[in-house]
Subunit: 353 residues, 2 copies
Amino acid sequence: MKNLKVPFSPIRFSRNTLYLLDQRKLPNHEVWVPCRSSRAVWKAIRTMVVRGAPAIGVAAGYGLYLGIRSFKGDPKDFCTRLVQEARYLDSSRPTARNLAYAVERIIQKVCVSKEKSVPKLKQQVLEEAERIHNEDIQICRKIGQYGSALFRKGNTILTHCNAGGLATSGYGTALAVFYALKEKKIPFSVYVDETRPLLQGARLTAWELFKSKIPATLICDNMAASLMHAGKIDGVVVGADRIAMNGDTANKIGTYGVAVLAKVHGIPFYIAAPSTTFDLKAKTGKDIPIEERPHHEVSEMHGKRLAPKGMKVFNPSFDVTPHPYISGIITEAGVLKAPFQHSIKKIQTLLKK
Amino acid sequence: MKNLKVPFSPIRFSRNTLYLLDQRKLPNHEVWVPCRSSRAVWKAIRTMVVRGAPAIGVAAGYGLYLGIRSFKGDPKDFCTRLVQEARYLDSSRPTARNLAYAVERIIQKVCVSKEKSVPKLKQQVLEEAERIHNEDIQICRKIGQYGSALFRKGNTILTHCNAGGLATSGYGTALAVFYALKEKKIPFSVYVDETRPLLQGARLTAWELFKSKIPATLICDNMAASLMHAGKIDGVVVGADRIAMNGDTANKIGTYGVAVLAKVHGIPFYIAAPSTTFDLKAKTGKDIPIEERPHHEVSEMHGKRLAPKGMKVFNPSFDVTPHPYISGIITEAGVLKAPFQHSIKKIQTLLKK
């Protein structure tokens, strides 16, 4: 199966090796990390070589294949092993919904099949992983189409973190909106929150937009409020790591603050995410686990201390934006509006058909 | 004149030399920069060896003395030269009100005196600079007394940037509140915004509180909103660089966002500042000049790029918090409440007596 073309992609699979663009080294170095086992994929997800919920999902799909590629047992044990590998991969990061989605989808596909040949079962796993990969690109394009219709000539749009090509298989979710606006030749500009502590905005979103010649200005996270007050922001678009069934959305830490500030200043605030980000098991944001990451991410940079040694640090990786702050959720099937309980259910039914 | 004792001070004047603790090198190195001319003081203020509005004011006072120390002309030209030096020092940074206050105060004192001896005029300049220095410490103690009465046992208080001993002559404004609470043996804890781009929270406030054994936790600026949402913040106290006569307050970039978020979450938001921070000429926040600082402060750290080369950056150093977001202004004469137009005028009259 050949992958669809995208301007750039952080994920490549070839000859039983998953190549991941090491996003920790951007924008200064473009280094590809080869992963030849599920263990290597697990580590790449955990240490954020690959990040962004959709990209994590795609990587996990291939990781599952790499995990069962060497399976030599009885065909009837294949599924048990597949589930073990899936659980293992799912333990790499707790918040991104798309990770669980990808491995669950492969299990469902393969474990219900009547196939008895182990090589053919393995082939089914790989094909489903490739299908998830290609669908991700198509989904991102559709998000771009729907999202770009929300903006007008001359608009200035704020984004937080990186929900770009680098967070997906190559076109992005929030950034798909920008790529689509550019393709439609609608002039617009972007403010990019640098997104502490790991600076995905400064390092990744800035890199993508700069490469794509989209006019963009980098700011520190704490500068967005005064830009909003000065009337310089017409809309906000961010990605999502997991969306509860009432619309509550987990995304990169800082998203909630941006959403509240947008509401206070009367600025529309949009989530852009594939429908795979919805978590049927999460009724509200309270059901979404929030990952806490190592303290040194906040207190050190380039191996140097930014804060005194021994200083206590709190480093949650995500926050939850309650649905009343969300003007719309841009998906591959259209822009969902409140009440989200209904619009999310509707879209789920629609997409199953 | 001997200086009052403080736990630690970033400013020392001895034998015609102003020693400034280089705050750019904290928390890793404690380096003192000796300044022997007004030019050296100007540069130290501009490059942020010394920072924090009250500390800048105190440093500028001594800078003025160093500027006229070598004056050898006619006594009647002394004042002209003093005003020139004052203008020069005032040009080092545009937002801090206390800078202008200190040099204007010295000019008023010296230029109205009937003293005809140049050495004695110089002595008057030095003595007034020392008086400003000592008063700053006394003022900070009073701010601590008034501010600490606003909090209760077990409270958790958020602060932004560094309005601490390092921003003043040694006790702080916002942090004076914390030192006073500690002296009163009232248990409390603090969350410290790291305060991008120059990380005055992580480097300076964290250093002060850690040194003073006040329980404090460092967070990135974009994490405060979710802590507020989780009910973990009982109040916010920050400093000020300039306060307009209607209460609108210029402070470190990000303050406005914190103030809006505090209001939305029903959390009291206090400014702590000496009365010298009020600008009689600024009717509202619109009359306060906002400094824009170099782009590399945002796009580089430790000489390494955080964003792609050529990326556009916006780096305002301050923002203005409109008065409706301010629950009170803690000054050396008490806590001012809305309507601030009246309470600020009242305090000005009171302090003149």
